[in-house]
């Protein structure tokens, strides 16, 4: 529809300008503009509200997040926006960016943090974490605080970083606004409750809560698809990148985003909802003599028990809380639960009868699996690619498949649909196109670098790029080999080093290559290179960090402590970025 003076509230000049602009907008731009206008309109009305309610006391809050995969950061930003809309003067910052000398002045400190691996703080919170736990941390007697902890109950030290902050803030004299909440993978609802409670406390401080006509304002996501509302993406391509004879199976998946309006950037991750193994669900039903056809209600929708167990509940991970809920004690040994599933547990504990409701009440929701995106939209319009390593292991001669990778490897076929959503990761992004980058990855950890290279080629980036890759065998496991060779040939990639651990008697890993090339590596750092590490935390990232520290110490002629400091500076400059799992 063309805007005219007669059919719109605009004058002729405005109508002409708008018509010009509108004609050139994409669907996504229109949607964005719509949201933008609504939001600015809200702000305007708020200002009006503020003026008329000047009796309200100004309340300030600082949200600090420690985030590895971006969940904590996203929550922090959304809560920040909502607080701002409700007249709380809010600062949202990554712990890495927060000047610690301002800590003492904070009125309300809201901490949202995840926990890495075995109880470690996320990369971008390490400095702050160390500071607050040090002797230099100030007394916080005038501060209120609240902690929201994100974690995964399958780890022993569940939500440890949040627990540490909570404990330490009490020690420093801060007063708790609301009790800490520890969230499992399925964190949304609990996080929301925590936030509502926090918000009410803050409103109470400002005196707003007494006002009847001030319902709390909510931020509505402008994205069509989300974790709660995943997109069904058609599988366009599925390739096992490993050759016959490999011990591994790594699947390259290409998914269609046609007309979905889904956008992402290199460095982001893709959430994929898996389906549990049908045989395992059947075994579970049989163990408990349950009828899979009986109906159960999930999110107000009735589905069969089989469907519920296939798509909605996790049955493959034995978390400590889960074992407790089944009241099983005296497991054969401490690590028994690792890698085993619920059928193993029920069989071991000889539990043979539970109702469907009893069973489901003990289970946690099947979490989405996150995979680093391996493509750039600039090259693959309306497509997203991921690289999925099949997890397969044996315990007592019985084979177990990873839930999502097993599903992708064994069941997903070209033409099928996968439920997906984009998980932003602002902390794993390409720098300016002229800045050098060093990319380090093993196995599927190479995935985001494929996206990086695609992006950089499209940008005609001038920054040099160095890739370190490791896997088992050159002949069978050199993931995306022909693409790297082309990027090298075309100069998109400046240099590449590989470590194939099992091609010789002594195993060789990427960290050895880093040390071998130490002088050059250090030289790149001095020239401002950004380091990326992607892959398995325990098996790779730690050793790589040790190697980098060694290189810094050797070639920068620094002590171990100075090298540590050098790395901390890199962290602060966002030049040491990790996407580890």
């Amino acid at each position: 529809m063309l805007l005219e003076v007669v059919n719109s509230p605009f004058n002729e000049k405005q109508a002409t300008l708008l018509n010009d602009v509108m004609a050139n907008l994409t669907q996504q731009q229109k949607i964005w503009l719509n949201g933008y206008l609504t939001a600015t309109l809200n702000n305007t009305s708020k200002m009006v509200v503020e003026e008329t309610t000047s009796l309200i006391k100004t309340v300030t809050a600082t949200i600090l997040y420690g985030s590895q995969t971006g969940n904590a950061k996203r929550l922090a930003q959304r809560f920040g926006e909502e607080l701002a809309q409700n007249q709380v003067v809010t600062t949202v910052k990554s712990m890495a960016d927060f000047p610690v000398n301002k800590l003492k002045k904070i009125e309300n400190l809201l901490i949202i943090t995840s926990t890495q691996g075995e109880g470690e703080a996320p990369d971008n919170s390490k400095t702050f974490y160390d500071f607050i736990h040090s002797e230099r941390a100030p007394k916080l007697a005038n501060s209120h605080y609240a902690v929201l902890a994100l974690g995964d109950t399958s780890y022993d030290l569940f939500c440890q970083t949040g627990i540490d902050f909570d404990k330490r803030l009490i020690e420093l004299g801060a007063q708790s606004l609301v009790p800490r909440v520890d969230c499992d993978l399925d964190y949304e609802e609990e996080a929301e409750c925590w936030f509502t409670a926090v918000q009410q406390q803050l409103m109470a401080q400002s005196g707003q809560l007494n006002q009847v006509d001030a319902p709390l304002k909510k931020v509505v996501s402008t994205e069509n698809y989300s974790k709660k509302k995943p997109y069904s993406a058609k599988v366009l391509e599925k390739i096992n990148l490993n050759m016959t004879g490999s011990d591994k199976a790594t699947y390259h998946l290409e998914l269609s985003l046609e007309n979905a309006g889904i956008e992402y950037e290199p460095g982001d991750s893709l959430g994929v909802y898996a389906k549990n193994n049908e045989e395992l669900v059947a075994a579970l039903l049989m163990q408990l003599s349950l009828d899979g056809q009986q109906l159960v209600t999930i999110d107000q929708i009735e589905i069969t028990l089989t469907e519920a167990l296939l798509y909605h509940y996790e049955i493959t991970v034995l978390t400590k809380p889960l074992i407790a809920k089944f009241e099983v004690e005296n497991l054969p040994h401490e690590n028994w639960r690792e890698g085993r599933n619920i059928v193993d547990l029920l069989r071991y504990a000889k539990i043979t009868s539970l109702t469907a409701a009893q069973l489901l009440s003990k289970l946690r929701k099947l979490p989405a699996r996150l995979y680093s995106i391996a493509s750039s939209l600039a090259v693959h319009e309306e497509e997203v690619h991921i690289t999925v390593g099949q997890l397969r292991y044996a315990i007592d001669d019985h084979y177990y498949d990873g839930v999502c990778s097993g599903f992708i490897a064994n069941e997903v076929q070209i033409g099928d649909e996968l439920k997906i959503f984009v998980q932003r990761n602002e902390d794993f992004k390409l720098p300016a196109s002229n800045q050098p980058i060093i990319m380090i990855g093993a196995g599927t950890g190479i995935a985001p670098y494929r996206a990086f290279m695609e992006q950089r080629e499209e940008q005609q980036a001038t920054g040099s790029a160095w890739l370190f890759f490791g896997d088992q065998h050159f002949m069978t496991d050199f993931l995306y080999q022909t693409e790297w060779l082309r990027y090298l040939n075309d100069g998109v990639l400046t240099s590449m080093d590989v470590a194939f651990s099992r091609d010789q008697q002594h195993k060789i890993y990427v960290q050895q290559r880093i040390i071998e090339k130490g002088a050059e590596f250090y030289n790149w750092l001095e020239k401002g290179a950004v380091i990326y590490i992607c892959g398995d935390e325990k098996k790779m990232a730690k050793d790589v960090e040790t190697a980098i520290l060694e290189v810094i110490a050797t070639y920068g002629q620094l002590t171990e402590q100075q090298a540590q400091h050098y790395l901390v500076t890199l962290l602060a400059e966002k030049r040491y970025l990790r996407d580890v799992y």
């Binding site: 390739i239 050759m243 022909t482």
Partner: protein, 579 residues
Amino acid sequence: MTGKIVLPPQEGQTAPNEGIKKASNYLRGTLQQSMAEPLSASIPTDDQNLIKFHGSYMQDNRDERDERQQKKLEPSYQFMIRVRTPGGAATGAQWLMMDKMAHQYGNGTLKITTRQAFQLHGILKWNVKAYMQEMNNALLDSLAACGDVNRNVMCNVIPSMSAVHEEVYQWAVTVSEHLLPHTRAYHEIWLDGEKVIDTPQTEEVEPIYGELYLPRKFKIGMAIPPSNDTDIYSQDIGIIAIIEKNKLIGFNLTVGGGMGMTHGDEGTYPQLGHLIGFVLPSQLVEAAEKIVTIQRDYGNRIERKNARFKYTIDRYGIDWFLTEFDKRTTFELQPAREFHFERTGDRYGWMQGTDEKWHMTLFIQNGRVKDFEDYPLMTGIREIAKIHQGRFFMTPNQNLVIADVTTAQKEKIDELIKSYHLTDGAHYSALRRNSIACVSMPTCGLAMAEAERYLPSLISKIDRLLQQNNLSETEITIRMSGCPNGCSRAAIGEIGFIGKGPGKYNMYLGAAFNGSRLNKIYRENIAEEEIIMELTPIIKHYAQTRLQDEHFGDFTIRAGYVTATTDGRNFHEIAKNSK
């Protein structure tokens, strides 16, 4: 002291290979770096050409090409290494080393080539050097096993059948050693030999070859009549031992034979060597060297597919050659002596030599040594190699001779032969016992059709025809090459097949059983069904009207299926009245 060799100028743009050789600093190129480069199992084109001189070809497993491409992996690049074994001789220790290397670095099999050499396939780039060093430790090398130089010198097998045979074999070794390149490149690159200081060379590094080496590969073979197992006429230089009263008196020489051609280019053709005369043993090395230098100077360096010695001889004529040879040699060539060839095939089974020692010729289908189901060939030979005190000889027909066995040891070896089901081929048809196939798919880059993997099953089908016609024990030579380069010397098979495309072959008939006449194309581009259909009436006709001791090749000419090819230059001519 030899000055720089200056070649007579040739008109036109020299072939790209010539530039690569010239720039290579005597076969070094950038091999040292490219063999260590870690991101690709391949090496650049120039180095691919140079590594041939070191006895290796870069190949890839063509069976995996499509799959690897889909998986975003480069082709499975790998190296074939051909070992220089003059006369096909190897000790038990050398055999064991080759066997071990085949498992450690190769694809777990060994190939006995049609030129009596070991061939190992499937060696990853980064293992080539380690392999070369192991080989060196076992006193073997692959220097000049391929490339534009004189290659492995062939020699009639069972040299130990008599003292004369041993003498002839020693001449093969001598000629081979004499014509080796002198460059230190092989030692530097593979054996960590000391690098020659980079000073301007005033003296020629290669006194025989010069810095451009030969325009094309060069092959020498020696035969002891009446056996023509080395296919003397297919060699650039054929050396025929002349023996009188059990004494080696000298050699007849042939020049200008060769098998290769290009499909669709009648200017290329297989050719048989021309008999030029007789030399004394003491003149042999000089004769060979001078012939090589004639080809060095006059071989075509513009058009590579016309660069073989046979084209040089045909272009200038044999009289010109004789004049040129005379100019270069210090002796007079004598008229050729009488000799007679009977056959090209091997004689299988145990034979006792004049020195009382025993020699066992094992049948090895197409020279492929591996463990088959119910036929642990590779294990069997390995066990024999562990106790065998004599030598092994690889034959030009891709078989294996366990030579120099004492009577006392014969029993033990016989036991092993039986327990591992090794065979003298007696239970196979005479056709199969006289078959040769090159490697072809999946490793040979030139292959257009299968050879080694296919010929055995084709023979089974032809065997049925022979059985029906009572010809199972009639010796007929059958040879298959996957491409027209002719490693299996298919152009001198009584039944010859040269690959045209997947499953398609040109079929040739009419070669002489003793290797003295080329065959002629009978049908072009046919598949198995047509092959059988075409052969059915001919074999029946042969069985019915065959003259006494008439060979199949001679019969197909007499009966008019093909006309005789009297010279390589009429190989492509087809008489209008041929059936």
